[in-house]
Symmetry: C3
Subunit: 178 residues, 3 copies
């Protein structure tokens, strides 16, 4: 079976200019390495907090790299430079509000400022695109909260099958899709 | 008292072509029969997963059939053919995001893939329009979660009074509206 | 330290025409008086349920009065005259959906009709704008639910520092921002 490409986009002015070591992207990669039992390969990008750059990264990962899943990290807050949700919405044909709702609800158990996150998820062609916060511990909380729904979401939009390691996350599929 | 018309729209390519027996529409009807104690009549439609057909069904049920409530079932997922939320938004003048939030939160107790639902609710004139999933057991869960707010919502937008059977659902109205 | 201006906009046809004593605005003021330990001053407005009037009040409070925070009360329901969320969205450059989600979830513990509220929050320049319901007891519940995140939100968008009285609400800031 061919490795499924997964895009990981770090959105950070400081990481993209080299002033700062990217911690968000590696945290996403480590989580996926533990969670996925089927073959996959990481396509990583580091871009500044600019709508055109983020949007282009998402679109290339979906369209040219055929990523089944594109995960962004960073740029989801209320500050003027935070524009990842806008870029995601521009790249997607439809949005899935349940992802942001659940990630905020879960993060709220750790910090009251979780409500400031504008993180969302959407669909571009056969790719699922989702925003995560930049903070590595929040990344793990968010992925743990939503990932059980991710493999079936990818299948519903025409993407490949991902298998998970049930000690980390148990992918859910309705009986007729197992 | 005159029977209040309630629209029930099954959205399904297979049900509308006759390849499949509609189970969603009858599940909505059965739930309403148990829940409503005042007189009502069902206006049912079965339409394919196409925005114009769904939108037209909603608009006719609101405008020509004077339905106080229009409930759709099916077509709320992330798959390309799922377009019920888009058609609903096109037919409504304003959206009520709290319905989708609560229905997803409640469905999440049964299945992690509840976050994939894009179901929503909105207002068209004096009619309340709400999306339910296609799965009969999820239909009952969603109706049980939100229906206590439905009669008062209909009154706020100028519709008729519905009475509920309190052993199924206790309609809530603030003291000044009782 | 200079007093931080905070805008409080009562949205009500009846209060603005003098037919009704405004109870929402004073309830917001009382809550803030108890919750804030740093110096602030109230800029109050009472406007009818009309998009242009509400929008203009929000914009003036942000732009001319330099309010760090603008809180509206009333006009968030589904009734045709309820247009505060529309006016808020028109005045803001970006929305923060987590506020509305959390306020509805908290209000839902008191009344099932909480899902009918369309209340939201957003950012205009360096000002945070948030909608509250009109009912005084719901106002306190909503402020108690979200206010821990408000001071840091204001700092992230370039506004001044607010200090809270920890017996009412403990403002949260991540370690690097304390």
């Amino acid at each position: 079976m061919q490795a499924v490409p997964i895009g990981i986009v770090t959105v950070s002015d400081r990481a993209s200019s080299g002033d700062y070591v990217d911690r968000g992207g590696p945290a996403v990669t480590r989580w996926l390495e533990a969670a996925l039992s089927s073959s996959w390969s990481a396509c990583t990008r580091v871009v500044p907090d600019e709508i055109p750059a983020i949007r282009r990264a998402i679109e290339e990962l979906c369209d040219s790299e055929s990523c089944a899943l594109v995960i962004t990290t960073g740029g989801t807050g209320p500050a003027p430079r935070d524009v990842t949700p806008e870029a995601t919405e521009a790249a997607c044909s439809r949005m899935l509000p349940g992802f942001g709702e659940l990630m905020r609800a879960v993060s709220l158990k750790s910090v009251p400022t979780a409500i400031l996150s504008r993180q969302t998820a959407g669909v571009r062609g056969r790719s699922l695109v989702m925003n995560l916060p930049g903070n590595p511990s929040a990344i793990a909380d968010c992925l743990a909260a939503v990932f059980a729904a991710v493999p079936y979401a990818i299948e519903l939009i025409g993407g490949p099958r991902l298998e998970t390691n049930p000690t980390v996350v148990q992918a859910f599929r309705p009986p007729h899709a197992r």
